[in-house]
Point group: C2
Amino acid sequence: MTTEFGNSDVNTRARFEAQRLAYAPLMFQACRALRDFGILENLSSARAKGLTAAEAVAKTGVSRYAAALLLEAGLASGLCDCANPTDAEPRFTITHMGVYWLRDELTRVNAEFNHHVCYGGAAHLREALLEGRPAGLPAIDSTGAKTVYEALRSLPQNVKTAWFEFDHFYSDGVFEACLPRVLSKGDEHVVDIGANTGRFTDLVLSRSRTARMTCVDLPGQLAVLKDNLARHGDRFTLAPTNVLDPSAPLPAGADAYWLSQFLDCFSEEEIVSILSRVRAAMRPDSKVFILETFWDQQQHDAARFCVIGTSLYFACIANGNSRMYHSEVMRQLAAKAGLKVTDEVKHLGISHSLMQLGAA
Amino acid sequence: MTTEFGNSDVNTRARFEAQRLAYAPLMFQACRALRDFGILENLSSARAKGLTAAEAVAKTGVSRYAAALLLEAGLASGLCDCANPTDAEPRFTITHMGVYWLRDELTRVNAEFNHHVCYGGAAHLREALLEGRPAGLPAIDSTGAKTVYEALRSLPQNVKTAWFEFDHFYSDGVFEACLPRVLSKGDEHVVDIGANTGRFTDLVLSRSRTARMTCVDLPGQLAVLKDNLARHGDRFTLAPTNVLDPSAPLPAGADAYWLSQFLDCFSEEEIVSILSRVRAAMRPDSKVFILETFWDQQQHDAARFCVIGTSLYFACIANGNSRMYHSEVMRQLAAKAGLKVTDEVKHLGISHSLMQLGAA
């Protein structure tokens, strides 16, 4: 296989990578099947000895045809190795990448989110970007919703499960690391903007006996949250609000305003509007916390890759106009709203940064 | 970002590759849009200086939002580089892989085949493999066809175009290299089994004034072929045959039987049936030629990757039971049919091998 592009190592590698991208959809689905049929698990158990297709059939009960195709796809994709491909019965072993694909929870959550939530709609990314609307949403939503948030409650169960696993996986763990900064005294009144299912509010109320919370979200969301947090009695207040309504005020005079993985759901204009209303509601000495995964602040290629990939989900599925932001863009939007960054902590949890802001 | 899997270089790489696979569908579509919106072409023109998102907007007219998302996706996928990601206006350049994605015809043909023919159906690969039927075919076919070959004529035009470009790209060029072996005397009578649109027959009749051809295919296919080859007058004969009918004989007593990229459309059992009928039809000294892309005989990772990926297309779209074979499997199937390999030439064209066989 030679082409006008030459055969240097760099070109050989580039040509290979280009084909990986060209066959990405088929290979993605083959690698899911390799995992879901139990073949990868059996390869892992077989360790360095590996398995032939015939042995994989004996272990899993899939057809010889299926086992051979998937083992070869695993080889092509990097999940498997094969030392004797020209033998009549090639023997396949699992690679490091295969172990991640099989066992790493982040990888599984990302892959299932991509399959159940994004796969069908991703085919409409082009229209989504040209028209600034989530053109892929109808692939999972039959209610004609304008955003995935409107559609969320009526999504098919497997789609909903994948969505919430993804949503929660990225926040679990990181809240803990933020707590000492938000509760520097311990008895703060915190407004949780975009309180969602109440995980952060729950953590605050569980850790401090004197803190109070006000939860801002859409009424439907707050109904769920209220049930989830019933054991905290009257220590939290509900403030049903559509933050997209530029005339909807936010609760005034709190010690802290908490916006976690929330602003990435809005366009730049909407962020300025929301932060301006935070600015209007806060005291001169209130603190504002923005917890986000900024694509420019990732330590690892893997994390940067996921953060950038998630922007594509926002474009074609979620709302058509939001994204995982660049930290500098967020600073500029905050400045437009009359806020200035007073502190920044990077590399919290999987890939988060915590911006602390005050009145400019 | 640290996990229980550790942070060695090997693990860092494996974790990154696992995320690339997990986000493959979104990234595939983003990279197509990056190309189709003209951003990649403009990056190529900008050479080492590269473009910011704002400059890409000025060059292409897409929104700032679209340009930024796609440039970042290009960075994540390896089509772009960025030397200053933490700056407010990151500047992106095209990589070697980006040049392949933009300009290499093989890459484009593969990617568009994957998008137009395979993307929707690939989501049904799991069912296809469990049930041994092309469960993804209904994603492109509304006629209830059992195989893609039945559906071909009624497929939407963009799907059909992608299918034929893919089909022809892989055979163009390689026929020429095979000709001296098939026409060793020059006046042979050759049976072209699976003659398709008549490209090989046309080449033989154009190059030799004394060769004669008999074309075997389904009646509908032969009607197209007859029009295509009208200028060759009576030098070719049509033999309408459904080769899947085990009682359908093949034309007897020819000098050579030619099966090019044909047996990969059939299951192992069907191949034995077809080759047995070749064996029954041939003279003791007839030659049989099988031209295939065997996955074990590829010189380059890129070619092996494409051949294996194409097996997945057969599984979920084409027919649910055929594939790109291992050369040793083909030798065994030929032996079952009473044929033995007398010569093999590897590395013809993009990724082909030519097996020459005779009566065993």
